[in-house]
Symmetry: C2
Subunit: 414 residues, 2 copies
């Protein structure tokens, strides 16, 4: 079973907009055991769209069209798919009545162009759209003797996701052989992709029947495990067993094995230990606090913190002695530690974090180059720091720095 996902809309061929619906759909299709073989983007152009539909009908079993279902003359999906199939469009009187009702309820006059939204491809079933005016369509048909499943869905993500979940998923499940697929995600902080893989590969390559995908981002490596089997229990058992073996091999570097983010995990540990956190950040400029507070409920363990860009504020907000800054420089391990200890004491938190460094692109010196970042963590047992040299852009250096700091807090709490 191969699927093809087709995004329709000239705006998706500009530098400003990108299809993201296909990521959602791929997740859902994979869960049903269906792989996506092709993704396409095509503009609001009848000739191009009909061509793309014809090509898809030749090569894919399941074809999902997204967008182009509205009332304007740029909305061509219905007529082009019908054209590609060589069938007619049939105006559905129930849908016409629905449209009139919809407009009447909003005390608006319906212009004639809206009526095309009531046109169904011959043989198709209409899919209600509770969040918009354009209904979707579901069509089971044959093309050159091959069975084909077609879905026409609206482009706006919230309309598409609701319609797919409520209308398409039940129909697909009834149609497809049952798939028992289990997945697990292991996440590791502050380790290189090749280093992580050199430890993990000897473990996961033993299992032919589990698909392992490795993904790397700024300061993070993820192992995505996926197995299918004759029952959900067996599939789950497979990935669970491999996840356990990988955790044993990789040790403390694994910060989560259920997909949670590093800031979520740090939050869990803090709540578990009934501990509170405060941070004082210079070069990360609020990003660390922002990540911590992106977790709903973080007010239970995060007291707050200080963004201390100027030297005066380092003293004012986190009680860093001015002489220390003068002697060691604002970017130094001593100031990082003083920030962590100062903010901890000032906020009466259990744990304090300090970050100071050079995020660049300007401001670097031979002595203290762009990318040099000191992170410190302080608690009742004392303080520790790391000296880091991060590569890349300002944005990336700031992200790495917060990742390091969060990971230091996590290790402190294990």
């Amino acid at each position: 079973m191969l699927a093809e996902i087709i995004a329709i809309g000239s705006e998706l061929l500009t530098p400003f907009r990108q299809d993201t619906n296909s990521l959602y759909l791929t997740t859902k299709l994979n869960e049903l055991g269906v792989n996506v073989a092709f993704k396409d983007v095509v503009g609001d152009n009848a000739e191009h769209l009909t061509l793309v539909a014809q090509i898809a009908l030749r090569r894919a079993d399941i074809i999902i069209f997204m967008g182009g279902l509205g009332p304007t003359e740029d909305d061509l999906t219905r007529e082009c798919v019908a054209e590609a199939l060589g069938v007619r469009l049939v105006r559905d009187q129930d849908l016409v009545a629905d449209l009139y009702k919809r407009f009447a309820s909003r005390r608006a006059t319906m212009t004639d162009n809206n009526l095309q939204q009531a046109d169904l491809i011959e043989g198709a079933e209409s899919l209600p759209n509770p969040l918009g005016s354009a209904p979707g369509q579901w069509l089971e048909t044959t093309y050159d003797g091959d069975r084909r499943l077609l879905m026409l869905l609206p482009g706006p993500p919230f309309e598409l996701e609701r319609m797919f979940a409520e209308e398409c998923l039940p129909r697909l499940k009834a149609k497809l052989p049952p798939a028992y697929i289990a997945t697990r995600v292991l996440r590791l902080a502050m380790i290189g992709e090749s280093q992580a893989d050199s430890i993990a590969a000897p473990v996961y390559t033993k299992y032919d029947d589990i698909q392992t995908t490795i993904l790397a981002g700024a300061g993070e490596v993820q192992f995505h495990l996926k197995a299918s089997s004759e029952s959900q229990l067996v599939a789950q058992d497979k990935v669970d067993r491999l996840a356990e073996e990988l955790e044993d091999a990789l040790g403390e570097q694994v910060f989560s094995s259920g997909g949670e983010t590093l800031e979520q995990i740090v939050g869990y540990y803090l709540q578990m230990r009934n501990a509170t956190l405060a941070v004082a950040e210079s070069c990360t400029g609020g990003l660390l606090a922002e990540r911590i507070t992106s977790v709903s409920g973080s007010s239970r363990y995060f007291l707050g913190g200080a963004v201390v860009y100027s030297n005066e504020l380092k003293t004012l907000m986190a009680d860093v002695p001015p002489l220390l800054i003068q002697e060691q420089g604002a970017v130094s391990k001593q100031v990082a530690i003083a920030l962590a200890e100062g903010i901890r004491k000032k906020c009466r938190a259990n744990i304090g974090v300090g970050i100071t460094g050079v995020a660049g692109p300007t401001g670097g010196t031979d002595d203290k180059p762009v990318g040099l970042v000191y992170c410190a963590v302080a608690d009742s047992r004392g303080s520790e720091f790391t000296e880091n040299r991060f590569p890349g852009t300002r944005e990336r250096i700031r992200l790495y720095s917060t990742q390091r700091a969060l990971d230091m807090v996590r290790r402190r709490l294990i």
Copy 2:
């Protein structure tokens, strides 16, 4: 001249990875007067890839293949494009020598599979890749009598962008008729898309020869203007004139007309006025400071700030009277103003900002629902505040809140 962009790699058909190279390439192609008509994603599958190449050869003048140029058996782009064209691959001895040199310089042994990177499609020119081992290819040919331009580029964005800029752009410019295209971007804060468009449409619809695209995000609307003409000067004059008319019509709501972000504009104004800024944020948890400090050089006007999640910290860091919090509640206009005035005084900044609200998804009450956010700005002339009710997720509410606060600072500085 129509272009097709083809991204190759099975990882791009998973829910975890997405092609972003095509956005960069679209920008560059549009600048040359070339429109992108089709974008495709296809996996590391010889049959599928050859099919996609054949289809592209039939319908597009310029075809860019991205990825699949490495040394592994999954790297199939070279052989599949040659197959689609019906020509041979020719091993290039200079490229073979380069590969040996490259490995020798890293004191590594080259395995035989690397040699396929020296295979050129018959008639193609090799494009050097200073950032990676896989060279690209440039091929001018005909297909069924039609002229075709093909480029094979590496998948990693930094390799692709460098190779396209240094190797492909000069060749394309020499090949294509000169294009004189000018663009302008107007950005507006805290206005609805339909409201902005109802003011702007009567202006831009007068100009048939200028393409106007409207884009809307959280708390921001953008107008992208694009014109082409017989000379760069005339094209630039066209968009400049429309930009000016739109600015007149939209007034102060336009925060930038050269594409700058709101945080950049606020930074410009602060520097121009020789003024300093400090912020005290509760529900935005550091996001405001993070946005301000994402601008390189922001240390010249941004002193720092406080993330005051707990009530104690509101008092400790921004001198908000405990009684005020007790009487009015932490989420109140009074506390927002006290945060702005308190942090301003404490940090001796010219301007202080305070934000307090309910970002959700939990913590809302009938009285103070999720999305209720107070923003305040204080300076030597006094304080002002806004009461906002933002829709959407926690992330979106936080983004809206910082957008509102930044826009208030901007208006204060105009």
